[in-house]
């Protein structure tokens, strides 16, 4: 049987290396010409607990994970307890033969393969940590995948640990492959490699955003470790020397954003990656960047809050906070990319927006988008489309010709005051975080205050045109229009596909990646013909719905909210449509 796609899930305790081996397997599938989607589910602990990693694979592009599991690789019994109900009819469970499988866990429509995982890993590899290598070898054998792709990934991943480790993993993987082949008769699902497929990439939202930011000229990154934001800081730290970037793991998030503001003030494109708790600490400095018009980009990979919330889980509940954070009023941009492609674009576009409009730009990701891996075609990362627009930045010649004191906050029709950075004798000024006059000096005169607030506000009138526009997916004149933002794109897109496969013309969707300033006109135009609106978002209160109503007056007819820390899946959305469609 060759299903359109299948899901392989490996489960065990933290510390068993599930995520790295799972990501490696997804990479092998990608090299084998298939599309993979990998998503980890883990607790905020280093050892113990129950973790699992799911890899969905298909010959066609994938935008989402899915709930049904075709093959469960159980490194412990807990995995079977938790996931046996997700296994499809005809699916299989590979488990360690040293375990005694309790009868109540058995299902007659699922095949159970006892394999001495621990014993074989020890014998052939010298260590039981190679159980996952063995398990993925078995998986490859069962689905009829080609071993050479696993081999190439093992060589790449373990070469820095030495030839002995590479050889041991190769032995164990090969053994798993053979074992899988011997069991193939009792497993109906196949997913063979497509040998001549074009070279593709597999990456996370974290990597896509970081790549986009680097391509867009990001040269300073300051942060403080917080899941799931800090992987962006780590990515830049790993690439800093090679690409001439300064990264700073600061003493706290307050220091991080203030360092970035200092760097941006003197002319560097500066980024602050964090999560909601860290962003909470940064709010005062956000206002500083707003009133002193310093271009800085803040990336918030959301996790459930408030407070510590759930560190390793996902949510979309920071939207209105990001839009409203800070005392006082000043313009800002909020982007919420939904795909790998959009993460890459947000990476470079955010710096252009920040420098062109001289104001902070906030990019919202979330745990699901930041940490899940997706296979994409090489064109998904559109390096050729990257532009670097530094906005009204005075040139050296212009500064040389300046024959009056420099006015950093000059009142202009556009509200944008030509910017410069410290270092030129004709541009000697002090920017004041108090309300200031055109020269930057504190000035509480009523008319001046009004003029400066107006100037800042004027900068972004009509600026939503520079944001990614709402994107539609689905047939025209659909009976239901779904609305979503950020990472819900993938699961909802597949939902729409499935609904239309059942009933053509039943549903379409409008996805928002540029959220603030809200694209009012584009939204009104897109929704003019929409019949029934259903919002799908990962929070309890319906924050996007509130924003939509505030900005357009349009209310939704129904909503699906999720705030259990787990991402939306197509199945979850379909199961919760009852009474709404």
């Amino acid at each position: 049987m060759n299903p359109h796609n299948l899901t392989i899930r490996i489960g065990g305790e933290a510390g068993m290396g599930l995520e790295s081996s799972g990501a490696g397997f997804a990479r092998a599938l990608t090299r084998g010409g298939l599309y993979a989607f990998g998503v980890a589910d883990y607790y905020s602990r280093i050892r113990g607990g129950h973790n699992f990693f799911s890899i969905r694979v298909s010959p066609q592009p994938l935008y989402s994970h899915a709930e049904p599991v075709h093959l469960l690789l159980a490194l412990d019994l807990e995995t079977i307890v938790r996931h046996i109900d997700s296994v499809v009819e005809g699916g299989a469970v590979v488990y360690d033969a040293r375990e005694t499988l309790p009868e109540h866990l058995r299902r007659s429509d699922v095949t159970f393969f006892p394999v001495p995982l621990t014993a074989l890993a020890r014998e052939q590899g010298g260590s039981e940590v190679m159980r996952n290598t063995l398990a993925f070898g078995i998986a490859a054998g069962l689905i009829g995948f080609d071993h050479r792709y696993l081999e190439s990934v093992i060589r790449d991943n373990f070469s820095r640990k030495g030839q002995a480790v590479v050889d041991a993993n190769l032995r164990v993987s090969e053994l798993g492959m053979q074992t899988g082949h011997t069991l193939q008769a009792d497993f109906p699902f196949r997913m063979e490699a497509i040998p001549d497929a074009p070279r593709r990439l597999i990456l996370s939202g974290t990597e896509a955003f970081a790549l986009g930011a680097l391509a867009g000229g990001c040269r300073f990154v300051a942060g403080y470790p917080m899941t799931p934001g800090s992987p962006v800081l780590q990515w830049f730290a790993a690439h800093a020397s090679e690409y001439g970037v300064v990264t700073k793991h600061a003493e706290d998030e307050i220091a991080a954003i203030n360092m970035a503001i200092g760097a941006a003030y003197v002319g560097a494109r500066a980024l602050v990656p964090t999560s909601g708790g860290g962003f909470s600490l940064m709010v005062e400095a956000l206002g500083l960047a707003g009133i002193t018009e310093v271009p800085v980009v803040i990336y918030n990979a959301q996790r459930p809050g408030p407070s510590t919330g759930m560190a390793t889980r996902t949510e979309q509940a920071d939207l209105l906070f990001m839009i409203h954070a800070s005392q006082g009023e000043f313009p800002r941009f909020v982007l919420a990319p939904g795909t790998i492609e959009e993460c890459f674009e947000a990476g470079w576009r955010s710096f252009n927006l920040a420098e062109h409009y001289q104001t902070p730009v906030l990019v919202l990701s979330d745990h699901y988008l930041a940490t899940s891996y997706r296979t994409v075609d090489v064109e998904a990362l559109d390096f050729a489309g990257v532009t670097i627009d530094r906005g009204a930045l005075l040139t050296r010649t212009e500064l040389d010709a300046l024959d009056e004191p420099y006015r950093r906050y000059r009142i202009t029709p556009s509200g944008i005051s030509p910017r410069t950075v410290p270092g030129h004798p004709n541009a000697v000024w002090v920017s004041d975080s108090s309300e200031h006059n055109e020269y930057g000096a504190g000035d509480e005169d009523a008319a001046n205050r009004t003029a400066q607030v107006d100037k800042r506000a004027r900068k972004v009138i009509g600026a939503e045109k520079d944001l990614p526009q709402p994107s539609r997916f689905g047939p025209p004149k659909a009976r239901v229009t779904f609305l979503c933002w950020g990472s819900t794109y993938g699961p909802l897109r597949e939902t729409v596909e499935r609904l239309n496969a059942e009933q053509p013309g039943s549903a379409d969707m409008l996805h928002f990646s540029g959220l603030y300033p809200f694209p009012k006109a584009a939204t009104e135009a897109a929704l003019a013909q929409a019949q029934r609106l259903i919002a799908v978002e990962g929070n309890e209160t319906g924050q996007f719905e509130t924003l939509l109503r505030c900005c357009t007056g349009r209310s939704v007819d129904g909503a699906i909210h999720k705030y259990d820390g787990r991402p939306f899946s197509p199945e979850y959305i379909l199961n919760n449509l009852a009474g709404k469609v």
Partner: protein, 290 residues
């Protein structure tokens, strides 16, 4: 040839008559003239408080920022442009209260910043509350029964945190303070100058009279060796009939943070043109993802 006039600002200070900040402002200008550092060659970052308004009262490139955060902002500025001299000017509430962690981290990080703290041992701008350096038992509007905390010891903290230049000045000793600021500007690394500064409105017990009778210059102290950390440690606690001013501790310079960052080896970050990635760079990045 730069003169004091080159640093004259457009705004007149709003400090109280007799405020120690006038002396500090003059000393900074004198040091910049002495060391021939032009207004566009130095970036003065200040926090929030009476004294933090200082850059607004002179002609210089500066940034009046947030309470407690100027050290972090200065650090970012220095890392992004180490061709620029960077100085922080802020008060004791800003530097040792709200910004205490940034102070200690800057000292151990050794980014080349002159950190001048206007230490009047009181909150002036918010009208007289006790500060991190106020003495135990100090009665103020927020400590009507007397402050219950021991004062912060900034000099000892800086030494403990690894600073290699730790000094104390006095706003009533203008020439001496200007000299200290100059020495700090030339120090290759983080340099703290804690400046005793009378607040004539809210802390009259520590007015000029108090300090004039007690301060003495370490340079005049026979046998005092500022490179001796143990001796420096003892002097940093000396507070009573005699109060030392001068360079308390000057250790052997350590490598600055910025000179150890690989990305900064080829010059200031902002001096490099912002260009798109090359094809070779893109290929290398994509190779990691294939």
């Amino acid at each position: 040839m730069l003169t004091r006039k080159d640093f004259e600002g457009r705004e007149r200070p709003t400090w109280c008559p007799g405020c120690g900040n006038y002396g500090i402002l003059n000393a900074i200008k004198m040091a910049l003239v002495e060391h021939q550092i032009a207004p566009h060659e130095i970036f003065i970052v200040s926090g929030i408080g009476c004294g933090s308004k200082l850059p607004l009262y002179m002609k210089v490139t500066g940034y009046h920022t947030l309470h407690g955060r100027p050290v972090a902002i200065a650090t970012g500025a220095r890392l992004a442009n180490h061709g620029l001299r960077v100085m922080v000017v802020h008060g004791d509430g800003d530097g040792y209260g709200e910004g205490l962690s940034h102070f200690l981290n800057a000292a151990r990080r050794n980014v080349r910043i002159v950190d001048l703290v206007q230490d009047n041992r009181i909150y002036g701008l918010t009208r007289g509350q006790y500060s991190p350096t106020s003495e135990y038992g100090k009665r103020t509007p927020t400590s009507p029964e007397g402050a219950l905390e021991q004062p912060v010891q900034p000099l000892a903290l800086a030494i403990a945190a690894g600073a290699t230049f730790v000094a104390r000045g006095y706003s009533g000793e203008l020439q001496h303070l200007a000299w200290l600021i100059g020495e700090a500007l030339e120090h290759p690394g983080y340099a703290l100058i804690d400046v005793l500064q009378p607040c004539v409105t809210f802390n009259r017990g520590y007015a000029y009279e108090f300090y004039n009778q007690r301060v003495y210059k370490l340079e005049d102290e026979p046998g005092y060796d500022p490179s001796d950390r143990t001796a420096a440690w003892e002097r940093s606690y000396e507070w009573g009939e005699r109060i030392p001013i001068g360079i308390i501790y000057r250790g052997s310079p350590l490598p600055t943070y910025e000179e150890q960052v690989p990305a900064l080896k080829s010059g200031p970050l902002v001096a490099r043109a912002l260009e798109k990635l090359t094809t070779a760079q893109i290929d290398a990045l994509l190779e990691e993802l294939a």
